[in-house]
Structure formats: structure tokens, C-alpha cells
Symmetry: C6
Subunit: 340 residues, 6 copies
């Protein structure tokens, strides 16, 4: 059964959300996005649309865990009676997916369930993989994430802590890798997100309403057009989609080489301290985000524009920060001139 | 067992409710109606009465999911041991139904239940279809919808998100289409409707009490007459019912061809913005509703009367809006004259 | 095991309660009584005593659902392997009963339970009928009805909506008629009754305390006499009981023929509107009640005394209303003289 | 295993409690006692001690329901394969018991549990009798009765309503008589008793603390003596116990013959009305209690002393009432002289 | 597995707690101790240490219920197929134990569980004894007793009421003696103890903090020494432990003979009345405690020092009481001189 | 599957936390650490990093309980059909571990689960060991320990009380040693820790934020470096890790010999008394901690520097205490000079 998904490039406005999602597609270690905003502003549409852009990953063929060859062997995710599994591994390239976690999901559905009888004889085959298996190396999307039950939050935190999902039943313990990019949407009026969980999410973006009449008309028309004939609509945006996908793929390849100079590190440390951030999470987020932006901009070195965008994405867009960014820019220039 | 249903055309007054229900029968993509009002004002009677007017849809014969041929094949809703199912498909035309979801329904009753043993050998046949199966391509009616349990709301939202109902048990996953028109009635004094759910409903109508003595007498008399002999009563309104049914069927055929001009799109965008609507849902609702009204009025092009009625149905009837509609009318005329 | 029931005619005072109960015995479509009052005022005694007066109904012999021949065939309430069930039906005449629904009843006990295995082969025989089966065509009595659990209220509402009880388990669905007269007693100090439920009850009566010394002594004496020797006590009131039963039976036969003139309909519409009633339930209740009172008074046409009593029973006894009834009386007279 | 019970006649003080318990032993239709008071005042000791005084009742031998011959046949409490059960019934005389209902009892323990398989073949034998079976025709004692769970209260009320305990499981329904004298103790500081339950209890007594030094010493000495050697202690009070038992048995026999004159009935009606009692329960309680006191005092006619004690036991001991009792006395005398 | 227990005689300070525990070891009818105090003050250590001092009791060999010969026969705690059980009984002398009841214990763990199948054929052997079986004739210790769940409190109260634990399942009822000395510790800041339970405990002691530097150092040193090498530490206190054990055993033998004169009884009654005690529990506690203190002091007659200590242990140490004790002393002397 | 753990010696700042963790690795009898602080301050990283430093312990080979030879025999942790188990015991040296207890763990997962059938024949082998088995002689780590469910807290307290985990099911009781070092982290803003649990933890440390720019940059760089290539990063710190491990191992060997003089004991007693500590836990903690610090500093005798650090770790760092420490130092010197 095929779901009809709205093309990402057909989304009108919402540049910060789109950028944050793209950056995570390039660099999963940014650690996901939390999108906050009123209902009806297209948050969920954007996340679901991302599915159409995601790069391909190499996986062991038919693996329900989307594992690469190394993890396959490390976790012994093969039949226990296979003699020489290493030679048999067939690989496949499949696109990353957006896996949704519904608020009402049961623990078993998320973790997977284990057939104890079978587990004694067949090992990993006794596991009926759950959402965390499907979400491995993919995007795990939770709408209304702030309304998620506490015990489900615990499960996500357990898995996220080491990137492993461990299923234990009656003394039998089976594990598989579970590294997901967590994307959540929420309406802050309906309650706060539990601190432990928001800590696990790299970027936090606030949606703003669109008040431009032309954009609003365009949204209406596109939405109606899409609902009338989604295939034709997708066709219309195919070119743009492919272009963006290519740019993402290039950035993925470039990312490893991107560098940042020492001065910029100090800038990051100062600005988060002034901003009053708890701990060191913001520092590390800005660092990774700025490198990913550089890659997306096809830079091998983070420049001050990349950095400024990263700071805005991580710390938000407030007046004080804008001014500080100016000061920092001067600071950078003075230092760079001093140092040179 | 036959339920005795009150004829829709015998309902006295309540024009907006009746119109909203009719429009959904013509164009399910309007997305349902939420009817708000005090008890005893005939909300439920109106919804149930709609059943007598609904058009026929073409379904695969005896399908518990009311699917058309395409969905039947796409979802593989046939016995797994059938050799060449495509040739065997018999089709049938049956009227749409009003399927009720009682507040106390269990999850299994809504989603359907799965016989795991059987599922391995017989696929879809292992599914005991639930309310969501019956509601596919039909009207799903929930009385006191604001009192529905949160986990049931989750189920509805899951199904509504992609128009699919997925039943997962112990790793077996079976899915069938689940596209329903959601109609709910509620008494706002008994609590608000959860935002995620009201977002899924296209039109929101407030019932007004009837104070006209003649109408009240007519209601009394008709109700008593109906209770005394419902068959005779239905006979009396048969002609009127058939006339309305015909008009609905005509509108369904016309709908595809209905167009709206650009200026009207701008009018929609402006008025919702002034009205302070969150997001873009109102814009899209007005667009679809105005086209459906046009079809019901046998117009191929939305005119300003169609549009004004659509705006009133979507945004409600308040003084400010009425005046704005006048301004818009002038606006439209000026523009149209300017443009011509 | 025989329960000793206090004779209805031995109840001292409480005329409105007794009248309301009698009217329902004559005309079930009035829709039950809700009796409100302090504890110890004999509410429950009155309801239980009604059992001694109830008319006989014709049922299919030994039917646990108390069905008549038509329902028996319509619902296919016979063994699935019977060849020609229609010829075998034996009928029986049994008195209506007062079936009590205890506050702590389980869902299964109310709806009935289904033996799934058996259901496949034996149809309706797999159903273990519940309280709703016993209550069909009888009086369903709930003491402290305002304290009933919400899920039980839901069940009652489901059954009351179409007069059908549907038992669904694992995709098997069995239904039987479930048309009951709902009688509830409650102490308003212990909480309100849920609106959906009170809407389903035709008449609402408030008990008043008895302050007349002679009546109080009579109550004491009769109660003690009854407790000392209930059989002798019942014997003493046998004549009066039979007389009242006969009058009820006569009224049942007359009811079909009773008429009401147009003017009176207008009177009803006006007075409920002035009284500020939500919706149209009061209008219809007054209409039915006045006709039933007429039948009990052996009138073929509702007169103004019948109507006034009906209005008092439905809308309650307040000063304003009493005066309005005077006005209406004049109104009626003027009109009648004008019209004649 | 034998429980060591403190002798009733060894209880120092607490005359009203002792009297109330004795009266119930004589006349179960008084309907039990509710004893209110602080902890440590010997409430529970008194109730348990009553067991030593209770009269014998005639029961069918080995009946777990303590039934007499009539109930045995009426309820068909014999093996279903017995041919001619009436001839086999052996009778026995056993003393009434005090059956305790612990706060934490389960529903099954109270109602009894049913072996469904067995029920089809062996009828009543399939019932494992519960506390309500043991309590039939006995005293059912609940300590801290105000803390009893609501669903257990419901069960007691169901059984008390008609004096029958009905066990229903999967459509099988077995019933046995369940007529108990309800005795409860409670500390009013820990919460009120639910109204429906207190309505079922005939007398309500407040314990008063003992401040007399001699009595307090006697209590200490007796308690220590009892704990040191309970058998010797019981022996010491044997004579007194037998004397009281004899008086109770005489009263039981006399009770049927006791009469009350009309004037006294009026006195009762007036005083309860002045006292502001809801309903008619107080009237009936005073009536029965005064007759039972008369029987205990070996009178065949209630005199004014009997009546005054009854009024105090039912309505409590307050100043206003004492004065009214004087007035009533005069009233009685005047009337009696007037009448003679 | 052997638990290392701190020696009772190595406990520094806390004389009242130690005395209260010793008195209960001598005379279980005192009814336990409730120790109130802040955390870290050694309450639990003291209770656990008591285990090292407890006297031996004679039990039927290997009885899980610690019963003596009489109870063994009375309760029929032998195999049902034993022919002549009385001759086979082997006896054993084992020390009393401290049995702990953890807050989280289940009902089954406390009461014991019953194998129904087995119960029909093997009687008592079908019982898997619970904590109440182990606690029979022993000390039952509950830390944080004020936090115990209500249903567990109910179980304790049921057992304590008659000294019997009754296990009932599906109509099978098995009982064994359950007479325990209840010792609880609690921190009053974390909530009060339910009244019914505190009523069951004879003595109530408040821990006081130790502020003496030498004692605090001694506590530190001893604790560290014990943790370093618990066996050597125990050896060091062996002599003192044996001496105290001997004194306890002597007191047990003497206790039966101890007497108290009438005057002292009056003193007890007066002082508790002045103290405002509810009911008579304090009187009886002082009486028993004073006799036990006398036995521990090797007196055959309670003297005024014994009595004064008993009063302090039962009513607590407040200024008013101390002065009253002086008055009482004089009172006693005057009386004694008057009487002689 | 191998978890990538951050090297302990690469942690920037946080000296008190690191010291507290090291001291527990040297001397488990200190009884764990409770680390309090805001999120994102690296609390959890530090605890997990400790795993890389932990000393080896000698265990019975493949024992799921990590037991030494003595416990193995004492607890009979061998197969019941082994003839002469003592001769077969193979020993192994394995590093201590950090075992995590997730907030959502079930009771069974913590205690272990028991196969009753098997238990009768195979004893300990029927036990499926739980977290408490794995945690024996290891560090048990609980993140957000203040949010742990009450029943899980109970389990930990039960096990901690005697160092034993007892699994009881249906009368079968199996036990194994369960001595763990409890390490918890918590954010005090999210609620307090239950008193009973914090009592069981020896040291309590508050994290402070790092405001030094160089340190913050270093944290960022190291974190990024570690995430980029954790193996290389670990290699870089290997030398430092080995050095610290060696120092820990030396301290473990020295610890037994470390002594403290009498004067210092008095100092401890005085300062905790002035500090207002409940009970004696602080005294004993300071005593043990100071000895462990001495061992880590390679002293055979606690000096005043060791003591001062111990006091700061146990009682926290406040101004008053710092001054008192100066006074104490003088006190010590005066005394020492006086004594010498």
C-alpha cells in the first residue's frame, strides 16, 4: 500500500524547519529536531515530506533492522545454524525512512516481542522486530511528542543512551542497534516536553505563522491540487526534488572533510555561556550544526555565515543574540587580523 | 433487523446542519461535520437521517471494507490461495452508511481483531474487521465526541492521517483502507473537543433553538406521527427524499468540473487571516466547500453567493464577518471590473 | 424463590409517583420515570410495588427476551437448525416485570455473554442473555441511578438509541430487541444524573415528605402489618389491586383511539417555550402523557384537565406554571369559543 | 479451633450498646445496630461477646446456609439427583453466630463462588458458599464499617434488599436466602457511613467513655484475669450468662403477643416529625424496638417506659428530646384519661 | 546463608527502646513496640539485634508454624493420612526469631498460598506457609510501618484479632495459629500510623538523639569494628549477651508469680484518666508492663519503681506526668500507711 | 555488542564527582554516591566512564552472581546433583562493572524470575538472574533515581538491608548475595529522593557548572573528537587511564592497614553534631571516607588533609564548615601538642 506524500520542495515558507530537517538528513549526529508551533501550520506535513528526500543507506538485504554489514556481524543478527554467515551477506541500498511512533503504541510494539520458546533454538529469529528496529538508522517521528506516556519516554531514552535496543524476557536477552534521528512536533500550549527527552534532541525550532497573502494562496492552491491528483502534483515537483536530493548527497560526502578554526570554538563557548545554557549540549550542537551547514553550502571550512545560522538554529532568534552575533563577528575579525 | 430511521426531509428547520451534512455526502473531502448544541435539539436525529439520502458507491461484492476494485488489489484484500484474483472480482453498488462509534467501544472493536494462527496461512482473512472497516468510504458518527477516550481518539487520528487502518499483532501487520467522513455531535457545556480531533473535521456548526411556534408544533406532530407508524410516515416523505437524493447525485457528477477564479482565492486568504485562523485549514475548507455548494446549486463556476455561504459554514455567522463579506463583495466587484 | 412485594395500592400518599408509574405501565412510549427524593421516602418501595399491577404481554414461550412473534422471526431468535420455525412458535401471556439493574453489575451481566465456539454453530443459542434481555418490554429499574458507572450508562444509551442490544465478540454479532421502560430513583444531594441519561427518561418527579400525622401512622401500621405477615396483608389489598389492574388494562386498549385537538398542541408548544425547555423533548412528553392520562380517565379526547395534569407531571409544579396554566385555560376557552 | 470469647455479662458499663445488641438477638427485624465511638472503648468486644448469648435456631442439618426446612425446599437447596428430598431432611438446633466481614474481603468471598462445569450437573452443589451464606439468619459484623469499599457495600445492599443472595455466572443463576442482622462499628472521626447502608441499620448508638474509677479498675482486672485464664474466667460468669440467655429466649417467645395502643403510635409519629426525620424509618424502628423492649421486660403491652427507652435508642439522647418525652408523657396521660 | 547481626548489648544508649524490646521478649502479651524516631538513629539495628537474645520456645519439630504440641493437635496440622499422629510428635527447642515483613510484600506472601488440588487430598500440606506462619510465636517486624498498604494492614488486623490466620480459597479453609509480637519502626514525619494498627501495639517509644560525644565516638568505633570483622566483634560481646539472655529467661519463669496490689490498680486507673487516654488500653498495658518489669527486676511483687517505669514506657515521659508520679508516690505511701 | 565508553580521565573538571566515584571503587563500604545537578552537566557520562577504571574482582567462573568461592558455597550456588562441588570450582578475575537500572524496569527484571517446576529439581538453576544478580559486587547505577517507583525502591532497600536478594515464589525461596555500590544521579528540581534510599548512599555530591572558557572549549573538542572516532580517542587517554587504575589498585591493597587516631574520631563526632546531622550515618561515612582518601594518597595514617577532604565530601562545602575546619585544625594541633 502506497502512501501519497506531499513533496518537500512544494512546501511554501517554513525555511527554518526545512533547513533543520535537511541538516539532520545530512548529519544524523545533530540529533533530531523538535518543532514547536500551533496546529494547522504544516509541521507534520513537513516531517512526512522529508521522507521523499532522504539519502540511501547501505543495509544487509531484508534486514528488519536496516543494519550495515558490521553491525550485522557484531550483533550476530543471523540465523544461529548458519555455518559461515560472513560469506552469505548480500547488501542493498535503500532510502532512509520516516518511521512514526503513535502516541498510543504499546511497549511491545516499540521494543519488539520475543517468542521465548523459539529464542532458545533460533536466537535473533525469535524476535518480532518493533518500531525501534524499523527506526534504526532512520528518522523516528513522534507527533505531539509532549503528550507521550512516561514509560514510552523511558524506552526511547534507554535505546538512545547507547544506541542499542535490548529485549529481555525470562532471562533471554537479545539486542539490536537502534540509532534513530528523533523528530518531534508539539504544540507548547498543550504541555511541556519532559526534560530528559528534549535533552536528546539537537535542534528546537519554532514555527511562525505565514501572513503573506500570496504565500497563503499558493498553499491553498497547491494543497487542493495535491488532493485532487497527487501523482500529477508530485510529477510537477520531481525536478526540484531531485536537485535538492543531489545537494544533500553531496553534502553527506563533503561533511567528513569540513573543518572549523579554534577562534570559532571560543565564540561558541562564549555565546552559550552568555546565553545561560545548562551544561554543554548547546556548544556541541552549534559545533556540529555549523559544520553541516558548511557542507550543505559546499564549504570545506566553516565560515561566519555558516556559524551564525547554526547559532540561530540552536539558540533561537532573539534580539540580544542578533546583537551579540554582530559583536562576535567583529571579535572574530579583530582576532583573525590580530592572529594573522 | 431493520432500524426505523426518521426521514431527513421531515426535519423541521436546522438548515445549516442539513446543508453541512448534504455537502459532505456530495464531497467527502470536505472532511466531516462537528455539530455543537444543547441536548434535545435533534442533532443526532439529523445525522442518523442522513443515512436515508446517501449515494451509492461501487464496492467489491461482500467486502467488509467497502473497497473499490483498485483498493482491493492494492491492499491484497483477497484470499492468499486465490490464483488469479483479478478476474474473479465481482462488483456491487451499495448505499453509503452511517456507522456509529459508541463512546464505550473497545480498541479491538474499532480496529478489528486478528487471529494470529490464521494470519500466517490466510492473510487478510484472519482479520475480524472492526468499526473502521465498516466506516471505510462511509460516515463515521460519534455522539458526544468530546467525551471520547484519549486512546480511541489516537486510533481515529492514526487512521485519518493516511486513510489506512493498520492492525499489528506479534509482528504480523495487516492493513486496509479507512477513509471515513467524521461526523460528531457534542454539547459544548460538557467539555471541549481535543484539538487534534477538531482539526480533522472540516465544518463546525452550532445548532440554534427553534422558537417559532408553528415549527415547534410541526416537530411535535411529525415526531408523534413517526412514532405511531414509522412506515407510513416514511412513505409520506418518499417523494421529497428521492428528489433530494437525485439532486445530490447530480452534484456529485458535476463537482469534478466546478472551477473557482483567482480573485476568490485571494478573498478566502484575506478573510481567514483577518479572522485570525491558525494555520491554513480554514482556507482549504472554504475552497472545497464553496465548490461543493456550487455543484449542489448546479453551477460550474463558484459565484459569490456560493462563496459567501461557504465562508459562513466554515467560519460561523458573526456580525463582523457579515460586514466583511459585504466589503469583500464590493472588493470582488471592483477587482472584477478593474480586471475586465 | 418468591419475593414478597408490598401492594401498590397500600402505599399511602405519593400520588404523583404512583400516577407516573401507572402511566408508563399503560403507555411505555412515555419513556420511564425519574424519581428524585430523600432516602426513606418510599421511592424504591413504589417502583417495586408496580410489579404487582403490570399488564400481561404476549411473548414467545420461554423466550429469554420476552419477544413477540414478529421480533422472534425478525431477529431470527431460533435455533439455526430448525427447518420451519414459523410453524412451531408457541405463544404465552406473562405479566411485565420490574427488572433491577444493580449499581455494581458488570458489562457482561447487562449485555449478556457469548460463547464464541458455540456461536459459529448454534447462532443465538450461544448467547447467555443478560439484564437487557430480561428487561425487554419490561421495566428496567435502577436505584441511585445518578451513581451508575459511565460505561454502564453508555451501554444503556446504546441499547436505548435503537431499541436493540448488540453483542459483538471477535467479529460475531448477535442482536436482540431491547426496549425497556427506564425507571430510576435518586437522591439529588448525592450528585446529578448525566444529561444523556436523563434525556432518555420521559417524566421526572420529586417526592415530597409526608407531614400528615394520620398518614404517617397509617404508614407505620401498614408497614408493620406487612412485615408481620405479608401474605395476609396482600390478601387484604387484593380487591383494590385487581380494580386498578383492570383500569390499567382498559386504558391500554383505549389509548390507540385517544385524540388531541390542534389548539392544545399550540398550548403545549407555548408553555414549554416560556418554560425555557431545551429542545423538543418536553413538548413530546406532554403530548404523550396527556393522551395516556385521558385513556386512564376513560376519555377518547384529551380535555383540559388531562392536559394540565400532564404539564404538571412533565414540567413540575411551580407557582409560575400554575398561573400560566390558568392563562392557558382562559386562552383555550377564548380560542375554543372563537373557533366555534 | 476454638476462639476464646469474652463473656457478655462481664462487660462493665456500656448499657445502651448491650441493650441494643440484646434487642436484635430477640427481634432480628429491628435490623441491626451501628455502634459509633472512639477506639479502645470495647465496641468490638461487645459485639463478639454477643455470640455467647445468641439463641438457637432450627436449621437443616449441615446446611451451609443455616436454612429452615421451608427455605430449604423453596430454594431447592438439595442435590439435583435426590429423588424425594422432602423426606430426607434432618433438622438441627444450632446457636446463631457472629459472622465477621473483614474490610479486605473479595467479592467472591462474600457472595460465594460458582463452579460452572459442576453447576450444569449438580445445581446448588456447585456453589462454594461465601460469607453471605454463613451470615444467613445470623449476625453479620463489620468493624470500621464506614471504611468498607463501595462495591462491597453494593453487594450487601443487593442482598439486604430482598433477603436473597443471587450468584450469577455465565448465565447460570443460583440463589440462597441471605437474611442477616447487620452490626457495624465505626469511629466517626474516620469518615461518614454511606447513606444507603446506614438506612439499612435499625439502631444507632454512641459509645460514651467510662470515667468511674471503680469501673475502670474492674475493667482492668477482668481483662487481665480473662487473658491469664480465659476458661476459668468464662466459668465464673457462666451463671449470669445462662440467666441472660434464658431471659432472651423468653422474650423471643413473648414477642409475637406484644401489643401497642393507638395513642402511642401517634406519639411516635409526632416525635419523629418534630425531630425532623427523613422518611418513615425512625417511626417503624421505634415501633419495633418498643415492642421488643416490652418483651424483654416481660410485658404483653408496650408501656410508656418501654416506649421512652425505644425513642432514646432510635433517636439518641438529646436534651430537647428528653423534654419532649416529658411532654409526651403528659400528653399520653391526658389522652388516656380523656379516652377512659 | 547466615546474616551478621549486631549484638544487642553493643548498642550504645537507647535504654528505653532496649527495655521495651526486652520486656516483650519476656512477656509477649505486652503486645509489641512501636518505635518512633528520625532516620539513622539505630531503630532498626536495635530490633534486628533483639534476635540474638530471644528465648527458646518448644515447638513441634520442623513445623513451619512454630506450634507447640497442643496447637498442633488442635489445628490438625498433620498429614491427613497419619493414623495416630499424637504418638509421633517430636518436639524441639528453637530460639524465637525476628521475622521481617517488607512493605512491598504481596498478600500471598504474608498469608501463604494454597494448592487447591492438593488441599482436597492432603489438607494442611497444601498450604505453602507465608510470613504469618513464620511469625507465629515470634516477633513480626515492620520497618516504616506507617507506610504499609491498607490491605496488608487489614490482613495483620484479621490475624491479630483472634490469633489465627485463615486461608480461604474456593471454599477450602485452612487455618493455623498466628500469634506474633508486632514491632514497628516509623519516622512520624512521613505520616501517621493507622489507628486500628497502633491500637494493637502495646508500647510506643520515641527515640532521642544522642548528643554525648563519648557515646557518639563509641558508636562510630563499634560500627566500624563490626563492619570490619563482625565475627570477632560478636565474640567480644558474647559474655554480656549470655548474661542478659539468662536474666530474660529467669524473668520468664518468674512472671507467672508476680502480683500487684489493689492500690496500684487505682493509681493506674487515675493516671490514665487524667492523661486523657481513650478507652482502657493504656490501663491494661501499664498493668502488664509493670508486672514484667518486676519479673525482670526479680521482684515477686510490683513495687513503686517498677510501676513508675511502666507508666513512663506506656504514657511517655512528659513533665506533667513526672510530677503526677511524685504525687502518686505520696498517695501510695499515705494509703499504704493508712491501710497498714 | 560493545559499548563505546568515554574515558574517565578525559572528563574535564568535576573533581569532586570523580573523587567520590574513585573512592567507592577503592572502598565499596563507603556505600555509593548520589550526584545532584542540572541536566547536561555530564553526571551520567562520569558514572559510565567509571566502568573503564574499575578493579578486577575474583569470581567463580561464569557465575551470574559474580560470587567469590565462599559465597558460592555458603549460598549453595551450584547444581544440586553435583557430588563434590568444592573441588570443581574454577575461579576467574573479571573487572567490576557499572550495571544500570532503568526507571521502567519490572520487578522480575530486577529480582530475577523463578521457574517453579525446575526449582523443585534443580535448585538455584531455576533462577533466571536479574539486575540484582548482575549488580552483586558491582556498581548499580540509577539515572533520575529520585523518579524511581516506590515498589522498586522497596526492592533495593530489601536487598541492601542484609546484602541478600531473596526470590520467593509459591513457597520456594532462593537467595543469592546482592551487595552493590549504589550510584544515583538526579536533578533536584524534579523532586526529592525518598529518605530511606538516600540513607543508603554514603556520599552526596552537587555538580557545579563550568564557566571557564578554556575548559568549555576542551569539553566541546573532546566530545566531538570522541564522537568522530571513539577508538582513537580512547587510545589517546590509555596511558592516563592505566596510571589511575594502578593508583586505585594500590589504594585497595593499602586500605586494610590505614589507621586513624582517637582525636580525629572526636573531631568527627563534634563536627557532625554541630552540623545537626540526624543519627550517626555522617560520622561513620566521614570515618570510612577519610581512611579511603588516605589510602588513595598512599598514607598509612589519616592526616588532617585527608580528614578535611572527607568532611567536605560528606557534609558538603559551606562557609560555616570551612571555618569550623580551621578551628578543628587548631584544636587538633593543640591537642596533639598537649598529648605529646
Amino acid at each position: 500500500m502506497k502512501k501519497n506524500i506531499y513533496p518537500f520542495t512544494a512546501i511554501v515558507g517554513q525555511d527554518k524547519i526545512k533547513k533543520a530537517l535537511i541538516l539532520n538528513a545530512i548529519n544524523p549526529s545533530i540529533g533530531g529536531v523538535l518543532i514547536k508551533g500551533d496546529r494547522g501550520t504544516g509541521k507534520t506535513t513537513a516531517v512526512r515530506a522529508l521522507a521523499g528526500l532522504l539519502p540511501k543507506i547501505e543495509v544487509v538485504k531484508n534486514s528488519p533492522f536496516n543494519v550495515d554489514k558490521n553491525s550485522y556481524l557484531e550483533y550476530e543478527l543471523y540465523k544461529t545454524d548458519d555455518k559461515n554467515p560472513k560469506d552469505d551477506i548480500e547488501l542493498d541500498k535503500i532510502p532512509m525512512k520516516v518511521v512514526e511512533l503513535p502516541l498510543g503504541a504499546t511497549e511491545d510494539r516499540i521494543i519488539g516481542s520475543l517468542d521465548i520458546e523459539k529464542a532458545l533454538h533460533e536466537g535473533i529469529k525469535a524476535l518480532e522486530p518493533g518500531i525501534l528496529a524499523k527506526a534504526n538508522r532512520n528518522i523516528l517521528y513522534i507527533d505531539e511528542i509532549n503528550l507521550l506516556d512516561d514509560n514510552l519516554v523511558d524506552i526511547l531514552l534507554d535505546a538512545a543512551a547507547y544506541g542499542v535496543n535490548i529485549i529481555e524476557r525470562e532471562g533471554i536477552s537479545i539486542s539490536h542497534p537502534s540509532k534513530f534521528i528523533l523528530v518531534g512536533t508539539m504544540n507548547p500550549e498543550e504541555g511541556e516536553l519532559r526534560g530528559q527527552l528534549s535533552d536528546r534532541i539537537g535542534l528546537e525550532i519554532e514555527v511562525e505563522g505565514i501572513t503573506n497573502i500570496e504565500e497563503r494562496i499558493m498553499i491553498m492552491k497547491r494543497r487542493e491540487e495535491f488532493e485532487r491528483n497527487s501523482e500529477a502534483f508530485n510529477q510537477k515537483f520531481k525536478k526540484e526534488q531531485i536537485k535538492l536530493q543531489d545537494r544533500i548527497n553531496l553534502a553527506i560526502n563533503l561533511l567528513e572533510e569540513v573543518e572549523i578554526n579554534e577562534t570559532f570554538l571560543e565564540v561558541i563557548a562564549r555565546i552559550t555561556l552568555e546565553h545561560g545554557s545548562e551544561g554543554h549540549r548547546s556548544d556541541i550542537s552549534i559545533l556540529k550544526t555549523s559544520k553541516t551547514i558548511a557542507a550543505f553550502n559546499n564549504h570545506k571550512k566553516v565560515d561566519d555565515v555558516d556559524l551564525r545560522e547554526a547559532i540561530r538554529l540552536v539558540l533561537g532568534e532573539n534580539k540580544f543574540l542578533s546583537e551579540r552575533i554582530q559583536d562576535i563577528k567583529r571579535d572574530i575579525e579583530n582576532r583573525v587580523s590580530d592572529e594573522s
